[in-house]
């Protein structure tokens, strides 16, 4: 990590830790906690983009995680904490099953397939209403407990998810900058060349796909108690598009990019809430502007600004 990155992230982390002390507004904390979860979603998606896979169905894994965790807690009385590894394993297995036939497909085909299978997941979940609540979903999902801490308190849950965010970002950041991360870039840029020098391309692709799916599933597990409600439609078309968009406008060349993109997009969405019907139009236009003028994402803005100022001198 560069020195400035280290300083920036510590400052931001400090602010996030202090935030609940400034405002106890439950709605604000709810939005912030959501930003953390979607931030991890977008960042793990970036991991697969890094290796050249356009996984449009990433939210499908979030759905699996959310449903596995919720069903185990509400129907089988499991403790929330035990469901985390189970959901992770479930997602990993699904990722392997789906990955085997599809990861070798060229980019465009994989996009279409991932789009489709995400819909299949929601169709399948909805087809067993006796277990999954069908299209009506599952409501009144309880918050986890740990020893004496009851996480139904919004502030407590905020800190819990913040810890998850820090751990996830730490892991993903390490992976990004590691030897493996560099191999990912090589594969993305030229997979036939990489293959010819002995890199097992498909294996690395599968690895990133599975790791990303595990993170997505964990996001799903934390998401369910936050909204206290899940249903199959929360994890399809619109969410998939959103996660992709947020990741890109944040910036795909830095591991911190997606998080910035998620925060910016959700906050803009909240500010423009009053515009009702027109708010998607505003968001869409902002996205197009960012793609055209800030192609490396919002996170590159400070450098761009600095460059502009530097030029003036």
């Amino acid at each position: 990590m560069t020195r400035s990155e280290r300083i920036t992230s510590l400052v931001v982390l400090g602010l996030l830790v202090l935030l609940p002390l400034i405002t106890q507004d439950p709605y604000f904390l709810y939005v912030a906690t959501g930003i953390f979860i979607w931030g991890v979603m977008a960042t793990s998606l970036l991991l697969t983009i890094r290796v050249g896979i356009f996984n449009f169905g990433h939210v499908g894994f979030m759905s699996i995680g959310a449903y596995v965790s919720t069903l185990l807690v509400t129907k089988a009385g499991f403790s929330f904490w035990f469901t985390l590894p189970i959901a992770a394993v479930a997602a990993a297995i699904t990722a392997m099953l789906i990955g085997i036939p599809t990861l070798r497909l060229k980019g465009m085909y994989f996009v279409l397939v991932s789009f489709m299978w995400m819909l299949v997941v929601s169709y399948l979940i909805a087809s067993f209403p006796n277990y999954s609540g069908g299209w009506y979903g599952i409501s009144d999902i309880p918050a986890p407990r740990l020893l004496m801490i009851d996480f139904s308190n919004k502030v407590a849950y905020y800190y819990l998810v913040l810890c998850f965010l820090v751990v996830a970002m730490f892991f993903l950041h390490r992976l990004w900058n590691s030897q493996i991360g560099k191999i990912y870039v090589a594969i993305r840029d030229n997979d036939s060349l990489s293959q010819s020098i002995g890199i097992p391309v498909t294996q690395y692709r599968a690895q990133s796909f599975i790791i990303a799916s595990v993170f997505a599933a964990l996001c799903g597990c934390f998401f369910a108690p936050l909204t206290a409600f899940i249903d199959p439609t929360m994890f399809t078309f619109h969410s998939a598009i959103n996660v992709f968009l947020w990741m890109v406008i944040g910036g795909v060349y830095s591991i911190f990019g997606p998080l910035v993109g998620v925060a910016a997009a959700i906050l803009i969405g909240e500010i423009f809430r009053f515009m009702l019907v027109l708010s998607p139009i505003v968001l869409g236009i902002i996205i197009i502007v960012i793609v055209l003028f800030l192609p490396e994402g919002i996170i590159s803005a400070p450098q761009r600004v600095a460059k502009l100022l530097g030029k003036r001198k």
């Binding site: 036939p101 465009m108 085909y109 789009f115 489709m116 019907v277 708010s279 197009i288 055209l292």
Partner: protein, 292 residues
């Protein structure tokens, strides 16, 4: 099984198949030549239906004229979008794809287009009067003239497009650009122009599909996502880059839908279609008639 019933199912399958093929063909042309995955293609189809609605009700244009006008208008929209937006994102080096930023723009369009349509036209479903009415008897089977018209027009369009690509100079340039842009450039093909043309034709095809189908059912702003899903299925089945493949994929999917609904209830036909697509991907990833 009742012959009349069978006849209806077949005609329906053909009609749906032709429509899906037209939309998918537009999508595949835009990808093949301009290298843009147009996720907003479903929304373009939806928007064309609304344009058709206004052409026929507000301007009172007669059916066939309205279809042509609609196609021209949407082709113009495609041209403007390509020139104004997507061209800026295409890297100047030949042979690399501009996929990523273009994809994001098409996703942003998925946000903008339906919201704009709702803001301008409201959310009520709108009905368009039939282009022709009446029934043609094929033996004992009554065939709806409306649906027959769609099949005929659609197939005619396909044939003329094939002719254009194979025989006409401009069309062959497009085909070359799709197969190997470097070589095409060396041959003097103007890639920018090819991209514009592909967008125009692509949008125009979606527009024809939208305007043909609109009187059969109705028009509403939420038609986009399902059209996109069907396009994806057809493109995978038939193979990207193959015009006959797209027609074949579309027809196959039309038959799966039409007959699937007759024999199975609920969401099973769709799940079966998904299953078949996965199978095709595993066994023959480039699609039934695809190359590449």
């Amino acid at each position: 099984m009742d012959l009349v019933y069978l006849g209806q199912l077949v005609l329906n399958a053909l009609m749906l198949g032709v429509i899906y093929s037209l939309i998918a063909l537009g999508f595949t042309l835009i990808f093949g030549i301009a290298r843009v995955v147009n996720f907003a293609h479903g929304e373009i189809f939806m928007m064309s239906s609304f344009v058709m609605y206004y052409l026929m009700t507000a301007l009172g244009l007669p059916g066939m004229l309205a279809i042509i006008a609609c196609a021209l208008i949407m082709a113009g929209v495609g041209l403007v979008l390509e020139r104004g937006l997507f061209r800026r994102l295409r890297p100047q080096e030949v042979g690399t794809a501009a996929e990523f930023p273009s994809v994001i723009i098409t996703l942003a369009l998925i946000l903008i287009i339906p919201a704009s349509v709702v803001a301008i036209c409201g959310t009520k479903e709108k009905a368009i009067p039939s282009l022709i009415s009446g029934v043609i008897m094929l033996g004992p089977i009554p065939l709806s003239a409306e649906r027959l018209l769609i099949v005929i027009v659609g197939l005619a369009l396909f044939v003329s497009l094939l002719f254009f690509i194979w025989r006409h100079k401009e069309g062959r340039a497009l085909s070359a650009a799709a197969q190997d842009s470097e070589a095409a450039l060396l041959q003097g093909v103007n890639l920018n122009r090819a991209a514009s043309v592909s967008f125009s034709i692509g949008f125009g095809l979606a527009a024809v599909a939208g305007s043909l189908l609109a009187p059969i059912y109705y028009v509403e702003p939420t038609m986009g996502p399902s059209a996109l899903l069907k396009t994806c299925i057809v493109v995978i089945l038939g193979g990207i880059g193959s015009i006959p493949g797209t027609l074949l994929g579309g027809l196959i999917f039309g038959f799966i839908e039409s007959f699937g609904r007759a024999f199975l209830s609920g969401s099973f036909p769709m799940l079966i279609a998904f299953g078949i697509v996965m199978l095709v991907l595993i066994i023959r990833p480039r699609g039934l008639l695809g190359h590449d």
